[in-house]
């Protein structure tokens, strides 16, 4: 059974039909990427999976269990975490308080402490800056914080919405390294990216999204070789 299974998802904003029947699966331990142009519906897909928006049709199964009956804040407890587009850090709170918010739904004090150590080891900059107000961090550090905060929820699957957005190339490398490391340590990842080159370089499989529909899906290696993908998303003529 797939860890996450999405079937025929339709999501509307008022009358705007943003998702027109999305189906996808993510197996335990995978990195799956969702690529597509601006406005294709990538963010909407993730927001629907995380419960922030209710779809009009379709279903979402987490290890076979229907997630639509849960409110967004209960899905965190079930193991779905999301790093939102634009990072969404709590800019007036300290770095440490942001991480504590990640652990909000947990009660295992020792586990929380251990995971805090873990994210500090993964992203040592955050340890140095834990007392600092999060709004004063650089863009790259804020992305690290948003990722670490999502990891503090102890997710089974981590949804990431354009983690590379607005970052300098060196930082993009660093973020993707972190994603790979997190995945190796056991977290399944569904990664949305406009930077398709980077995303396909670390993913196992990928889906290509166009105007609310999946138009192509394959292994990452095959997608890298696909002519349409090369033209539209990898900048290769």
């Amino acid at each position: 059974m797939a860890l996450l299974e999405v079937n025929d998802l339709h999501t509307y904003y008022g009358k705007i039909h943003a998702l027109k029947g999305i189906s996808l699966t993510v197996e335990e331990g995978e990195i799956v990427t969702l690529i597509g142009a601006n406005g294709a519906g990538k963010t909407t897909t993730l927001r629907t999976i995380s419960g922030l928006i209710k779809p009009h049709q379709g279903n979402i199964l987490l290890e076979g269990e229907d997630t639509l009956k849960y409110a967004a804040h209960d899905l965190v407890f079930k193991g779905i975490a999301m790093v939102p587009e634009g990072r969404g850090i709590f800019s007036k709170m300290s770095v440490l308080e942001n991480l504590e918010m990640g652990a909000y739904s947990r009660t295992d004090k020792n586990g929380i402490q251990k995971d805090l150590e873990w994210v500090f080891e993964l992203l040592p900059r955050l340890r140095e800056r834990q007392k600092q107000v999060a709004g004063t961090l650089s863009g790259g550090e804020q992305q690290m914080l948003a990722t670490a905060r999502a990891l503090m929820t102890k997710p089974r699957i981590l949804l990431m919405d354009e983690p590379s957005m607005g970052l300098a190339p060196v930082l993009v490398e660093a973020i993707f390294d972190t994603i790979e490391k997190v995945n190796k340590e056991g977290t399944t990842i569904l990664l949305v990216e406009q930077n398709a080159t980077m995303a396909l370089s670390i993913a196992n499989r990928g889906y290509v999204l166009q105007t609310g529909q999946i138009v192509l899906t394959d292994t990452a290696t095959n997608l890298q070789k696909n002519e349409m993908v090369q033209k539209a998303y990898l900048g290769i003529e």
Binding site: H73, K92, M93, V133, T153
Partner: protein
């Protein structure tokens, strides 16, 4: 460079600047005249300051409710004055009963604590009901809609109390243990004013620590920054919003009891209107959404309206200036909104905390 600067200022800016300078000149002249004529002794000034601080404590406690709710929902709960009234009104019955059986004199501390608990509970319940019935269904509606509901809810509450208990005033009984005078820096100050000030400060510090240190307090700050992301952290935002209303309500109820303790006028169904507006002024003065701002704004407003009519207006030759206290307070609201809408602390202080 200079030319560009001049092109960017409109006639409204010029008018406002001139108005600002003129106001400052008038205030300075007023204060100068009053002080140089020596109309009042320093003991009289001290009396005004301490009375202002006690009244300001009440404003501050109510103002916290406005600011808490605004911080989280970007909404002004204009029925908050009635939340205060409901607590104060209910408290008066228990106060009269406790006074009649002599408990308030034999056990003043327990007696006042009981009043605070009852009034706090009633106001909390009213605030929570308001949220559930009047505001929650309208979340996401245009901002004008909850404002209109708030006005409707205000009237509903006022006329419920009027219908149940009539339109007359009911006085809080004097608490003997609080009725003396205390010497502060050589001035005689009514004990009750000091007690109210001290108790209010305790409540405010407790609230501040709650918001800064506890898990729920942090969740409140998270929700005030970004509701969707707060949900992604597993925070049930409805719970946080209700808690916010409850805390604001409790503080308003407490304020109602404090008001009864030092103001002999008593309670009646319309008593929440002016203190509500003034506490709102205080919250705006401190920078709405900012907790320390509401506390300091409340105390400042209390002192200003107590002191400034005599200090400024009498110096300008305006007779019986202390009758103009309310006019003064609301003029201040208008002036703040024009000249410094972000209040004393604005946003910057809020960003610096933590």
């Amino acid at each position: 460079m200079l030319k560009r600067y001049f092109q960017n200022i409109s006639w409204v800016d010029v008018f406002l600047r001139v108005f600002q300078i003129a106001a400052l000149i008038v205030i300075t002249i007023g204060i100068y005249n009053t002080v140089t004529t020596g109309r009042y002794t320093s003991a009289q000034w001290a009396t005004l300051v301490f009375a202002g601080l006690a009244q300001g404590s009440v404003y501050a406690l109510i103002a916290l409710g406005y600011t808490l709710v605004y911080g989280i929902l970007l909404m002004i709960n204009f029925a908050h004055g009635e939340v205060y009234m409901a607590g104060a009104f209910t408290g008066v019955f228990l106060a009269q009963y406790l006074s009649n059986i002599g408990f308030l004199d034999s056990n003043p501390f327990l007696g006042v604590t009981a009043l605070i608990l009852l009034a706090g509970t009633v106001s909390t319940l009213i605030a929570v009901l308001l949220e559930r019935i009047a505001y929650r269904p309208l979340r996401g509606a245009p901002r004008l809609v909850p404002l209109i509901t708030a006005i409707g809810a205000s009237f509903a509450l006022q006329y419920t109390f009027r219908g149940l208990y009539g339109a007359e005033f009911r006085a809080y009984p004097a608490v003997k243990a609080l009725s003396g005078l205390v010497n502060v820096f050589g001035f005689n100050v009514p004990l009750v004013q000091l007690v109210v000030l001290a108790a209010a400060v305790v409540f405010m510090v407790a609230l501040y620590l709650f918001v800064e240190r506890t898990k729920m307090g942090k969740a409140m700050r998270a929700v005030s920054e970004d509701k969707d992301v707060a949900r992604l952290m597993g925070i049930d935002i409805d719970k946080v919003i209700v808690t916010t209303f409850a805390i604001g309500g409790a503080l308003a109820g407490v304020a109602g009891v404090f008001n009864g303790l030092f103001r002999p006028q008593g309670v009646y169904f319309f008593m929440g209107f002016f203190p509500g507006l003034k506490a709102f002024t205080a919250a705006v003065l401190g920078g709405i959404g900012n907790l320390p701002g509401a506390m300091i704004g409340g105390l400042l407003l209390g002192v200003f309206e107590s002191l400034f009519p005599n200090l400024i207006l009498e110096g300008l030759g305006i007779p019986s200036a202390n009758q103009l206290r309310d006019a003064f307070a609301f003029t201040m609201l208008v002036l703040i909104l024009i000249f410094r809408p972000q209040g004393i602390f604005g946003e910057r202080l809020a960003e610096k905390k933590a």
